[in-house]
Symmetry: C2
Subunit: 194 residues, 2 copies
DNA sequence: ACCAATATAGGTCAACCGTCCTATATTTCA
DNA sequence: TGAAATATAGGACGGTTGACCTATATTGGT
């Protein structure tokens, strides 16, 4: 039951997700989303009763999407060190989008913080899923005294790279910084685990 | 001439500056600014003919404010190393505001990038003024082969700290990261200049 | 085939926004 | 002082937005 409705609902969330990323949450209207999906506003409102509700759906989709992606990484790479490299390389793989629209996680949190939006806490879960996974990888490498701190540091480095690469629309800078961050990780792992 | 008008104009820009920082540009209306200053919208519109115009004024104020601040730092500290420490400590001095509203420079650029606003280039000048000053200090320390790269790195580190500290509203994290960044600078200066 | 549940469309509404306009008030200076 | 320039107030506008409502259309189960 609800197969068709559920499918459309997912299409709506996917369109909202993309639009929120590209032009921001506040700057995206119901009409924008409805147009992108190709349905009427009335139909849209049948599936989501308020704008907060679709924001919540988008956040949940992103959180579970991140979680799913990290589980796939775990299957793809058995070495925690390789997994961390793969994490650090993430901005590199998405350099086009990131230089144009920033980090989907960070830019949304920034916007919600600025709007004093109550859903900032939910959005933070996007960060926390990454952080939890990072901590797990670091602990596998024997970094257990300050794994959380290192994980937070990695989050922040990624945010810094994305913010500046976005402001200057500078992919070269992004590439340089990713390299540098990998070198830092080498030193960090070496210093703490030998 | 225009002394009174000029003074009010400055009050308007100051109020807009603060509001843009605290609740974002798009989320701040003419009424918000007019109310904050205590004037009518009509009077407001007499001084600024469009919203872009006041955004431009705010950006220019911030750019020249940063420039002025850096010149004062130059007078306050003769040692470029001390100047760089003072730069890195900046988030620490403003930790309350930064954990609440992020970095005034970065969050505005993020918002303008998301809105595809043409004034993003002007906003980037806030970054560039910092970067130019950082390059000058680094070159004084003999770092001349990759000064620009190091300066960009320092910008990005600051943005990462501010973004994450803002998302989590976490001052402890901010303090940790500032310490860590100072250690990094020590290593960087030592490695490159000895 | 029929009826209830679900889905879709499109109109309406109040609120807000940036912009513009006009009517006063205040200041400036000849 | 009085006229011209500047400054201030507040109303009006067209457009957009989130939200709501009602009328159809489609679907699914009996």
């Amino acid at each position: 039951m609800g197969t068709k409705g559920e499918k459309l609902r997912q299409r709506i969330v996917a369109a909202a997700d993309e639009l929120f990323y590209r032009q921001g949450y506040e700057n995206t209207s119901f009409s924008d989303i409805a147009d992108a999906v190709g349905i009427s506003r009335g139909n849209f409102y049948y599936h989501f009763k308020s704008k907060d509700e679709i924001l919540n759906a988008v956040i949940n989709t992103r959180v579970s999407g991140i979680d799913k992606m990290l589980n796939e990484w775990n299957k793809e790479f058995t070495d925690p060190r390789q997994r961390l490299y793969h994490y650090i390389d993430m901005p590199l793989r998405n350099q086009e989008k990131i230089s144009l629209h920033g980090c989907p996680v960070g830019s949304l949190c920034t916007e919600l913080a600025k709007a004093s939006h109550s859903m900032l806490d939910d959005a933070n879960n996007m960060f926390i899923v990454f952080r939890t996974w990072l901590v797990a990888q670091l602990e596998l490498l024997g970094i257990d005294n300050n794994a959380e701190q290192v994980a937070m540091h990695l989050l922040a480095r990624g945010q810094g790279i994305a913010s500046v690469a976005n402001a200057f629309e500078d992919k070269e800078f992004l590439q340089q910084e990713v390299k540098q961050l990998k070198r830092w990780l080498d030193d960090e792992i070496f210093d703490s685990s030998h």
